[in-house]
C-alpha cells in the first residue's frame, strides 16, 4: 500500500526509454510484411547444412490423453408428456443469467472505452506527424536506430502514418459493423426479424431440392439488398458487384 501511495512523476524515464510502446518497423518478417518470394526447392536430397529451419513460434506441445466418454443406457425412454411442467423452463435461468450478463458487460465496456482512448491517441499522433515539426515527434512514436539519420526518420514517418491510418480505418470498419449490428438487434427486439434470420423449424425443408432452396434464398437477398450489377470489362472477365457481398471478378458468362 505504501508503494502505491508514493508520488509518481508524470515523466517516467524508464517508460520513455523502453521501446515496447513504440512502433517497430525493423523486426518485421520479410515474408509477411514485404511479401518476399519463397523458392520452391525441388531437390530430392537438399543440402541442409547451409539452411536453418524457420521456427519463430513454440512447437506444438503434446496433447493430453483424454478419458473417452462413457456410453450408458438411458434409465427410461423419453416419452413426451404434454402435461408435465418443465422443471428447467427458461424462467429458471433468467435471473442468474441476467446478473452474470451485467457483470460480463462491465468487462466489455471497459475494453471498449480503452479502445476509444487508444483511437484518440492515434488521431493525436497522426496530427503530430502531419505538422511541420514532425521530426520532433517521430522518435516518440517509432523505434529508431539513429535519431540523426534524416532518411530513416522520413521513411519511418511514412510507415508510421500508414500504420496509424490503417488502424483508424479498422476502427471505422469496426464502428460501422457494431452500429449495423446494434440496429439489427434493436429491430429484432421491436419484433422485426431480418431476412435470412428466420428459423428453419420444419424438417420438411430436407425433402426439398437444395438448388431450389438456394435460389429462393438468393431471391430473398435480392429483395433485401437489391439486384446484383455486372460490369463487362471486355477482356474475358466481368466485375460482379452484389450488394450484400464484396465485388469480385468472374469469367464472362459465368455466374
Amino acid at each position: 500500500m505504501a508503494e502505491r501511495k508514493k508520488r509518481k512523476l508524470r515523466l517516467n524515464h524508464e517508460l520513455a526509454s523502453s521501446n515496447t510502446r513504440l512502433l517497430n518497423f525493423d523486426n518485421g518478417n520479410a515474408l509477411l510484411s514485404l511479401n518476399q518470394p519463397i523458392y520452391l526447392d525441388r531437390q530430392l536430397k537438399p543440402n541442409k547444412t547451409k539452411l536453418r529451419r524457420v521456427q519463430v513460434t513454440e512447437a506444438q506441445p503434446e496433447l493430453a490423453q483424454r478419458e473417452p466418454p462413457k456410453f450408458r443406457d438411458l434409465d427410461l425412454p423419453h416419452r413426451r408428456h404434454r402435461n408435465t411442467v418443465d422443471p428447467l423452463a427458461d424462467e429458471v435461468y433468467e435471473p442468474f443469467h441476467r446478473r452474470m450478463k451485467k457483470d460480463e458487460r462491465s468487462v466489455t465496456l471497459a475494453d471498449r472505452s480503452k479502445l476509444h482512448f487508444d483511437v484518440d491517441n492515434l488521431r493525436g499522433q497522426l496530427t503530430l506527424l502531419n505538422q511541420h515539426d514532425w521530426i520532433k515527434h517521430v522518435p516518440t512514436m517509432v523505434s529508431l536506430n539513429d535519431r540523426n539519420d534524416y532518411e530513416e526518420l522520413s521513411r519511418k514517418r511514412v510507415l508510421a502514418r500508414r500504420e496509424i491510418l490503417k488502424n483508424l480505418e479498422k476502427f471505422q470498419d469496426w464502428e460501422a459493423r457494431t452500429t449495423a449490428h446494434t440496429l439489427a438487434v434493436k429491430n429484432y427486439l421491436k419484433g422485426n426479424i431480418g431476412l435470412g434470420d428466420e428459423d428453419d423449424s420444419n424438417g420438411l425443408i430436407l425433402d426439398r431440392s437444395l438448388d431450389r432452396l438456394a435460389k429462393e434464398r438468393a431471391a430473398l437477398r435480392i429483395a433485401q439488398h437489391g439486384t446484383p450489377v455486372r460490369i463487362v470489362l471486355r477482356n474475358g472477365f466481368d466485375l460482379l458487384a452484389m450488394p450484400h457481398r464484396k465485388p469480385r471478378i468472374v469469367l464472362t458468362g459465368t455466374s
Binding site: A30, L31, L34, N35, Q36, P37, I38, Y39, L40, D41, K45, P46, K48, K50, L51, R52, V54, V56, T57, Q60, L63, A64, E67, P68, P69, K70, D73, L74, P77, H78, T84, D86, L88, Y93, E94, F96, H97, R99, M100, K101, D103, E104, S106, V107, T108, L115, V158, R177, T178, H181, A184, G196, D197, D200, S201, L206, A214, G236, K246, I249
Partner: protein, 390 residues
C-alpha cells in the same frame, strides 16, 4: 487422466476461467464425460457447490470467485438438445420429455448446410435471437475449451452448430427408429470482432462425437462460406486452443501441400500472398502452418541478402512492381485472382539462380504428407459444396 485437482490460485480465478477442473463429470445425453477444463461461470459461489441458477442468496462479486480447490460439483446434467443444465438428475429427466428442442429436426436456427445423405446439418443460430440457448451452449463448450471468456453476452455472436444423426442413439427408443439430429459441435463467430479478417472465435466438437472429422467439416464450411461471400482471406482468432491449433494446422497443411504440388508445378517462386489468394488463408496463418510443418527454411546469412534477390524491394512495393523490376533475373509471377481463373500463365519459365533467403523444401513437404497420411494428388474433403446454402 488424473482426477486430482491442484488448488486454484487467486490469479487463476479470472471470470469464468479456472486452470483446474471444478466439475468432475458431465452427463450429456447418453454419455458421461470427464470435463477437460474448469468453468466458474456456472456458479454464483464456489463455496457451497451450487449452480448459479439453484441459489439466490449468494451475491456474486465482479472480481471473480473465491479460490477453492477441488471439485465444486461432482456431476452436471446437461440436456443434449438445448444445453440447459442442472445438478439434479431427476429434473433433467423430466425436462427431456418436455424439451421443445427434443425433435427429429432442430427447430432453431437457419439451415446453412444440408448433407441429407451423410446426415450432417449445419445451422446458424444468432446470439441475439436465441440468447439462452447460445449462453448455455457457450457455458457447456467452456468445459472442453481452454481459453473462452464470453458466456452471457452472446448478442454479437453467431453460432454455427453441426448436427448429426447418431447411430448410437437409435437404441434410445427401440420402438421408434426415427432419425434424430443432435448437436455434435459448434463454432462461434464474432460479428463485431476488432479484426475484420477473423471468422472464428472458438470451435468445439463435443467429446462423444470426436474423430468423426466434424472439426474439418466446420473449418471447410467456414472457408467455403467466406469464398461464397467474397470475403477472403480470413482466419481464426488467436490464441487457438491446443486442439483447435492441431485441427487448423492439419487442415492448412493439407491444403498447402496440395496447392504446392499441383498449382505450382512449373513455378519456382511463390509468395505467401499468392498462396493466400489461392487458398483463402491469411498470410500469417500460412506462415504459421509452413513453420509448424517443418518445411520452411532460411539460408544462413552468408548468402545474398533478400533485398538484392528481389531487386531492392521496399515495403511500399506491390508484388507486381517487384516482379516487373526483377524480370531480367528470374521468373516471378504473382498469383492474382485473374491468373487464378486462367492459370496457364503460371506454366512457363523457371528460375535459374536460386539466391533466396526463404525456401520451401518439397522433399520435407513430401515427408510431412507421408507422416500425416495426406495425399499430394487428391484433396480429401468432408464438405459437399452442393449442400451449401449460403
Amino acid at each position: 487422466m488424473s482426477s486430482a485437482t491442484p488448488p486454484c490460485t487467486p490469479a487463476e480465478n479470472e471470470y469464468g476461467v479456472l486452470h483446474s477442473r471444478n466439475i468432475k463429470h458431465v452427463e450429456f445425453g447418453q454419455f458421461t464425460i470427464d470435463t477437460w477444463y474448469g468453468n466458474g461461470a456456472y456458479f454464483a459461489s464456489a463455496r457451497n457447490g451450487q449452480l448459479g441458477t439453484e441459489t439466490t442468496s449468494v451475491p456474486r462479486k465482479k472480481d471473480g470467485l473465491p479460490s477453492v480447490s477441488g471439485f465444486w460439483l461432482d456431476t452436471l446434467y446437461v440436456c443434449d438438445f438445448c444445453f440447459k443444465y442442472t445438478s439434479d438428475k431427476s429434473k433433467l429427466s423430466l425436462h427431456m420429455s418436455s424439451c421443445p428442442l427434443n425433435q427429429e429436426f432442430p427447430p432453431i436456427g437457419t439451415l446453412v448446410y444440408a448433407d441429407v445423405k451423410g446426415k450432417r446439418l449445419i445451422k446458424k443460430v444468432r446470439g441475439f435471437r436465441h440468447e439462452l440457448f447460445c449462453q448455455n451452449l457457450s457455458l457447456f463448450g467452456k468445459l472442453f475449451l481452454d481459453d473462452k471468456s464470453v458466456y452471457y453476452n452472446v448478442e454479437s455472436y453467431d453460432f454455427y452448430i453441426v448436427y448429426g444423426a447418431s447411430k448410437m442413439h437409435a437404441a434410445e427408443n427401440k420402438l421408434d427408429d426415427r432419425t434424430v439430429y443432435r448437436p455434435m459441435g459448434f463454432f462461434s463467430k464474432e460479428i463485431t470482432a476488432w479484426e475484420p479478417d477473423n471468422n472464428l472465435a472458438c470451435i468445439c466438437i463435443f467429446p462423444p462425437y470426436q474423430r468423426l472429422h466434424l472439426g474439418s467439416l466446420l473449418i471447410e464450411f467456414l472457408y467455403a462460406a467466406a469464398e461464397a461471400a467474397g470475403q477472403q482471406p480470413l482466419g481464426p482468432e488467436f490464441p487457438l486452443s491446443p486442439y483447435g491449433k492441431q485441427l487448423y494446422l492439419r487442415y492448412w497443411g493439407k491444403r498447402i501441400a496440395f496447392e504446392l504440388f499441383n498449382s505450382f508445378e512449373n513455378c519456382d517462386l511463390i509468395t505467401l500472398g499468392d498462396l493466400a489468394v489461392l487458398t483463402g488463408f491469411r498470410r500469417e496463418d500460412l506462415f504459421f502452418a509452413l513453420e509448424h510443418m517443418g518445411v520452411l527454411y532460411t539460408a544462413d546469412t552468408s548468402g545474398s541478402p533478400p533485398a538484392e534477390a528481389v531487386g531492392e524491394q521496399n515495403p511500399t512495393d506491390e508484388p507486381e512492381k517487384v516482379a516487373s523490376r526483377s524480370k531480367g533475373k528470374f521468373f516471378y509471377l504473382p498469383f492474382s485472382r485473374l491468373q487464378r481463373l486462367d492459370n496457364r500463365a503460371l506454366r512457363s519459365k523457371s528460375l535459374t539462380t536460386p539466391e533466396f533467403t526463404y525456401r520451401i523444401l518439397l522433399r520435407a513437404l513430401m515427408d510431412w504428407c507421408e507422416k500425416n497420411k495426406v495425399s499430394t494428388e487428391i484433396l480429401s474433403t468432408m464438405l459437399d459444396p452442393s449442400c451449401l446454402l449460403v
